[in-house]
Amino acid sequence: MSLETPLHKVRGMGSSHSGVSHFWRQRVTAAALVPLAIWFAVSVLGLIGAHEAATLAFLSQPLNAILMAAFVVILLFHMTLGIQVVIDDYVHGNASKLLLMLAMRGFSIAAGAVSIFALLRIAGPL
């Protein structure tokens, strides 16, 4: 039996000071990525050997553009959470850890920006 009150327990949110939010986000993004990854695989297989015009036509359909945007954004979110754990596990110096975390998040944001820009350009003016 613990003598701590529930309020005391929840205030610090454990040794990570973030409670279970990282764990939970990793699972929710994973669950969302299951159908999106299957859609992505079926789509890419369907575009094998396609010329530029056919690929452009496929991705400029609103539903496909939206699904691809969702896939890329959730994928990068899931990736950021995953690599954060790898860095936490293997990198111990404070400075190198900070630099790697910033580089990884910078990469993730850049990849997201590039992909969304590309998708906007593909989908064209509405």
């Binding site: 299951v34 369907g46 690929t55 890329v72």
Partner: protein, 139 residues
């Protein structure tokens, strides 16, 4: 006293590291899950490149396709496809564990083998579909 090393300089017992373990299936699948996750992270560069190539017109698109169909390009693509299949299937296995299913050691070993075999079968099937001309159904 002089020939007794200071306690701080004596060889201390080390905790066992990776090299001393057998590789049980569950350990191997866990390590490969992380490795494929990192490989797929690198693969996001290919995804961005592909999307930018589609957005930039026929010349950029053909350049991407030409590079993707070189031997090295196909090896990288096969690695990407297998990593995606493995990470997806093993990810579903992890989600089942999170829901409390499949924890018994024989079950976890069996699901591990199922994931390894099916990921290889799926990756080969995807390439077989492509090579036999059965891909490209959206053209």
């Amino acid at each position: 006293m002089a020939d007794t090393p200071h306690p701080a300089h004596r060889a201390r017992p080390l905790s066992p590291h990776l090299g001393v373990y057998r590789w049980p299936i569950t350990m191997a699948t866990s390590i490969v899950h992380r490795a494929t996750g990192l490989a797929l992270s690198a693969g996001t560069i290919l995804l961005c490149w592909w999307l930018m190539a589609i957005a930039s017109g026929p010349e950029a698109f053909n350049q991407f396709t030409a590079l993707a169909t070189t031997p090295l390009g196909e090896v990288i693509l096969f690695g990407f496809v297998w990593s995606l299949a493995y990470h997806l299937l093993n990810g579903i296995r992890h989600l089942a564990w999170d829901l409390g299913y499949g924890f018994a050691v024989p079950t976890a070993n069996r699901s591990g083998i199922v994931v390894i075999v099916s990921s290889i079968v799926l990756a080969i099937a995807a390439f077989a579909l492509a090579y036999s001309g059965h891909g490209g159904y959206y053209q």
